[in-house]
Subunit: 160 residues, 2 copies
């Protein structure tokens, strides 16, 4: 008997997390699931309001849980199923986690139509740092460079 | 007697977090501090390897701690001092957290020179979702839209 789950099964899990989150008034309508070699590793809904953590989008939360479970910060070989196209923060997290494929259901436009827009972030990222809407000020580079110099001989360096 | 801390004092705290992290082999050479109305709220170094969390960059970690301390996901009125120009994930987190100004010391080019490059993320973000290097696949939008429809009448909606 073949019990292997397919793309739709995993996406359904992500969608169910999003539905439960809204139905139980736990947070925004977003869910994400991390899968490795066809096996469920971890899943999460959006927990921004539930945990007072603006970084706790569904994808970021699922990545954190998957890393905890696999005891690594490297999710190479994993894929993510997310009920909505990821925002730039979550995309950044997905890249840093070395996740290999993104499966999504709702689009950014869908999210925007219910009041969740990440357009402003894309617009900001497209501008050079110093011409962004958010004021950005550079100071004390010389002092800060000391840590970078130290890093050159750090035993941790090989892990990155 | 005037004890008010200035920009350099807060940046020095961020830099000291970055130095300590490398000196004690706890993680990458990055530190960040969140400040509100001239008062220190929270600070963190990069904790990616220490906590097996690829999202635990200094800025994201400091944001989480500040939110925990202030008991809110909204850091309006706060500013961030970071020892290095933030990556797209951290910038996204800064925007979502509603932080109002970014002070940074080391540049992206400095980070790149010691092996930390976020260029690939910017390059990916610049491309339309479906032409990115990372495979992106859409499926089951109709099912996922149900959560978005539910959200329209969610009591949580007003908090966002």
């Amino acid at each position: 008997m073949e019990n292997k789950m397919n793309h739709e099964d995993f996406m359904r899990m992500a969608i169910e997390l999003s539905l439960k989150n809204v139905n139980e008034s736990l947070g925004g309508p977003f869910g994400a699931v991390i899968v490795k070699d066809g096996i469920f590793i971890a899943g999460s809904a959006n927990k921004v309001t539930a945990t007072n953590d603006p970084t706790a989008h569904a994808e970021v939360s699922a990545i954190r849980l998957a890393c905890e479970k696999l005891n690594t910060f490297d999710l190479s070989g994993c894929v993510v199923y997310t009920s909505c196209e990821p925002c730039p923060m979550c995309l950044g997290a997905i890249y840093w986690a070395r996740i290999e494929t993104i499966y999504f259901a709702n689009t950014k436009a869908d999210a925007e139509s219910i009041g969740f827009s990440d357009k402003f972030i894309y617009e900001e990222l497209d501008k050079p740092m110093h011409s962004r809407t958010l004021p950005v000020v550079q100071l004390m580079r010389n002092e800060a460079l000391q840590a970078f110099e130290l890093w050159e001989t750090s035993p941790l360096r090989i892990n990155y």
